[in-house]
């Protein structure tokens, strides 16, 4: 029973993190692409495609952190000090990026400052998220229910690589999102970027996938014994399918297909990471079951989650539906 509850929770937290990654992924991606805007109109359109939804997207990050605190307090207590610097940097970057949405409309003289804050904040947030991922994959030293490493352990060539991978990947999500939400010259330009960002993202996925099994022999084993080996066949095949859909979509000027295919790539990469991690929550040694809060905490939180998360998904979907369609410079949000 204990195993099952903690496993259900691990899946819920993974779902929250994945939802965060794909939702905030495209809106951080827009920040990453912000300097490519050629005019004030471009900037307005780009920002307006996400203005009504960005704080909802970012709430999934709070859900990931808060959920971890709630159901895996030990994992939370180990990961946060281990990733101290990247997390603090990410938080500061998100501050700059988040306030830019409002501030840039409130000033003329300082508009370039907040536009830069939006760009730099998005890049740094994406980069530090990638670093955090890399640092988790390479493993975190634990002793006596606490982080036992130093405060620079997270900084390795591998984590820098995953940092860059996430920046590029979010850029791909952002550019394909804009293909879906904009028209004309801006859309055409995004099609051009999406192609190169797609190629680069696939390159990063390839390199990280090749390096990961060498970080820990256990990863290697999980991928090449059952049931993990099912995924070893399935995941690359589906990555291939998404890649084909992405580039065909770009070539045939499809509106939504490139975005959906890019989301697919993210989901598959995420599944790949889960397969590598399981049954650990903090590699190389802390398991999901060990880190879990007592059953009474898991059960109490699960009741509300089962009721509220579907509701959240419904009204979030509704908000997206309300603001559906192309964002045009001349109509804005009326």
């Amino acid at each position: 029973m204990e195993f099952e509850l903690s496993f259900i929770w691990a899946m819920i937290i993974a779902f929250a993190v994945l939802t965060y990654v794909i939702l905030d992924g495209f809106d951080l991606g827009i920040g990453i692409l912000f300097p490519s805007a050629k005019s004030e109109q471009d900037k307005s359109v780009m920002m307006n495609t996400i203005a009504p939804v960005w704080d909802g997207n970012e709430t999934w990050l709070v859900m990931g952190g808060g959920g971890l605190f709630a159901v895996f307090p030990l994992a939370y207590a180990i990961i946060m000090p281990a990733l101290y610097m990247p997390i603090i940097l990410m938080l500061l970057a998100l501050i700059f990026r988040g306030v830019a949405f409002e501030y840039r409309w409130r000033t003329v003289r300082w508009k370039p400052v907040w536009d830069f804050a939006f760009f730099a904040g998005s890049v740094i947030a994406a980069f530090t998220q990638g670093i955090s991922l890399g640092a988790l994959v390479q493993g975190i030293e634990v002793a006596n229910r606490a982080y036992a490493g130093g405060w620079w352990d997270w900084l390795t060539p591998f984590s820098l690589l995953t940092g860059c991978a996430v920046v590029i990947g979010y850029g791909l999500l952002g550019s394909t999102w804009l293909i879906m939400k904009t028209e004309g010259e801006l859309q055409a330009r995004m099609r051009g970027y999406a192609k190169w960002l797609g190629i680069a993202t696939l390159g990063f996925i390839g390199v990280v996938s090749i390096l990961t099994p060498f970080k820990d022999p256990a990863y290697f084993q999980r991928w090449f014994t059952l049931p993990g080996s099912i995924f070893s066949v399935l995941v690359p095949a589906l990555v291939g399918l998404c890649t084909w859909l992405l580039f065909m979509g770009l070539k045939q000027n499809k509106e939504a297909q490139p975005f959906l295919a890019s989301l697919g790539l993210f989901v598959l990469s995420f599944i790949g990471i889960l397969v590598s991690f399981y049954p650990n929550i903090v590699p190389p040694s802390l398991t999901i079951a060990e880190a879990a809060a007592p059953d009474s905490s898991l059960r109490f939180t699960l009741v509300g989650t089962m009721v509220l998360v579907p509701l959240i998904l419904i009204y979030t979907a509704y908000a997206y539906w309300v603001f559906r369609g192309k964002v045009k410079p001349e109509d804005g949000y009326h």
């Binding site: 004030e40 307005s44 307006n48 009504p52 939804v53 704080d55 909802g56 709430t59 990050l61 709070v62 859900m63 952190g65 808060g66 605190f69 709630a70 159901v71 307090p73 030990l74 939370y76 207590a77 990961i79 946060m80 000090p81 101290y84 610097m85 997390i87 603090i88 501050i95 700059f96 988040g98 306030v99 949405f101 409002e102 501030y103 409309w105 409130r106 003329v108 229910r145 606490a146 982080y147 405060w151 809060a293 007592p294 009474s296 905490s297 109490f300 939180t301 509300g304 989650t305 509220l308 009204y315 979030t316 908000a319 309300v322 603001f323 410079p329 001349e330 804005g332 949000y333 009326h334």
Partner: protein, 476 residues
């Protein structure tokens, strides 16, 4: 400068700094969200354009304040782990679920409906738009409910047991959520948020009334704010008293520090109105006090004995001077709010509410005082909990993460610089929005529809659109 501090001191400074900044925004946005719901409801009911105008006016201010609240709040939810990971591990099984409920039932609700509330009126129609506005307001109140339950459990922990690795384990969720100090703290804080907003709205109304006594929007704001004050300020004083009695029952040491009672008073304790705490000598210097009144207030008996800090081991004593002062600041401001309310009521009865310039000036001076009172109140209750994080059970010094002082020092400096820069700018923009005339519109910058792609176009057509009401319709 920071090298001489330990990691614990630095982490405490960091938490105090970030939480102090953070609480300012929710304290304001809880009140404004409800105010917006009231304004929009009144507009739908009466079709009085003034209400719609005010809704759009405060909507923009709310959007900026809410944005600052969101980003400063994300920091809080991660700081438990980065700096206080032992606390997080030990209290996670109890506090974590409460915070998870806050995220699920409040944060998503606010964020999910905010977009529609801010710019969805034309897309969803008035009815659903009103629903979205109410959901945002309801979300802010839900958020307050859960986080105050968390804080109150840290003050008055119940319903738990402790397992073999030292974690607090939930035994009775009902007891945990509705712990003894929670109802009082919740009501006290929500009323404080309403008062804070009323004072700000009143000050903005007063400012515009000083410029133009006939300004209809300013009159409406001022009048609504002053009604709010006269109703809520006395209520808050009563609630505050109940909260104090609750504290006396569960955290008597905190009350000793608030009262400045270093010594026990077996025959009735004096109420120290003013004085200078002297922690070295453990006494209040230059005290101005009313004999036995403290016993009357706290125990409803002039001669009831009151224990002092001399009955408490030194290592369990909170920093008295801070609490002594912050408590007095809060009380003084609370009564000033009541005074302003009474003054306005008197002028209103005389039919001169909008004519008394001195009253308007007083309202402007009182404008930011809600924030000061909220901060003073939180300093009193949080510093009063020291030296514990979970009162009586887990010491602050035992809650710290295994982090190096330089890491905390660097991040503390970064937070200070970033917060002053970012939130300084935000406050400046809010003040500028508040300063913007209510009757006319400066369309080029300030009255442009929030976050629409239109600013460029509006600037060019601004000349055609003279009235403020027209400006609003486009701002929806």
């Amino acid at each position: 400068m920071l090298e001489s501090f330990t990691a614990e001191t630095l982490a405490r400074m960091q938490f105090a700094f970030t939480v102090t900044f953070h609480i300012i925004f929710p304290a304001f946005s809880i009140g404004v969200a409800s105010y917006l719901a009231v304004l929009n409801g009144l507009w739908l009911k009466t079709h009085d354009q003034t209400y719609l105008f005010l809704f759009n006016y405060w909507k923009k201010i709310f959007a900026v304040a809410f944005g600052m609240g969101v980003v400063s709040g994300i920091v809080m939810s991660y700081q438990f782990g980065t700096n206080w990971s032992v606390f997080a591990d030990k209290t996670g099984p109890i506090l974590g679920p409460l915070m998870a409920y806050e995220v699920l039932s409040a944060f998503f609700l606010e964020a999910g409906f905010l977009g529609i509330a801010l710019f969805g009126r034309e897309r969803v129609g008035n009815g659903l738009h009103m629903f979205a506005v109410c959901m945002v307001a309801f979300g802010t109140l839900m958020s307050a409910t859960w986080i105050l339950s968390v804080n109150s459990w840290m003050q008055t922990p119940v319903g738990y047991s402790i397992n073999d690795v030292g974690q607090f384990i939930p035994e009775d969720w009902w007891q945990i959520v509705f712990n003894p100090s929670f109802p009082y703290r919740l009501v006290h804080m929500v009323l404080a948020a309403f008062l804070t907003t009323a004072l700000v709205v009143g000050a903005v109304g007063a400012l515009h009334l000083l410029r133009n006594k006939a300004d209809a929007a300013a009159r409406r704001m001022f009048s609504m704010a002053m009604w709010m004050l006269i109703v809520v300020a006395p209520l808050q004083i009563v609630v505050g008293d109940f909260h104090g009695l609750n504290t006396l029952e569960y955290q008597p040491v905190k009350v000793m520090a608030m009262e400045g009672h270093y010594d026990s008073h077996p025959e009735g304790g004096p109420l120290i109105l003013f004085g200078i705490p002297n922690p070295q000598e453990k006494r209040i210097d230059y005290a101005i006090q009313i004999p036995k009144l403290s016993s009357l207030i706290l125990k409803h008996d002039l001669n009831a004995p009151l224990a002092g800090l001399d009955t408490i081991p030194d290592e369990d004593e909170p920093p008295v001077a801070v609490i002594f002062w912050s408590f007095r600041i809060m009380i003084l401001l609370g009564f000033s709010m009541l005074g302003l309310g009474v003054w306005s009521l008197w002028r209103r009865i005389r039919g001169k509410l909008y004519d008394d310039d001195l009253l308007k000036r007083a309202a402007i001076v009182m404008g930011p005082m809600g924030f000061v009172a909220v901060l003073a109140g939180w300093v009193t209750t949080e510093v009063g909990r020291q030296p514990f994080t979970v009162y009586g059970l887990l010491r602050t010094s035992d809650s710290l993460a295994p982090i190096d002082a330089p890491a905390v020092a660097v991040s503390l400096i970064a937070f200070i610089i970033v917060y002053f820069f970012v939130f300084g700018a935000g406050t400046f923009y809010i003040l500028r929005l508040m300063n913007k005339p209510t009757a006319t519109s400066d369309l080029e910058i300030n009255d442009g529809p929030t976050r629409t792609a239109q600013n460029q176009f509006i600037a060019t057509t601004a000349a055609d659109l003279k009235s403020g009401a027209q400006g609003d319709n486009r701002g929806i």
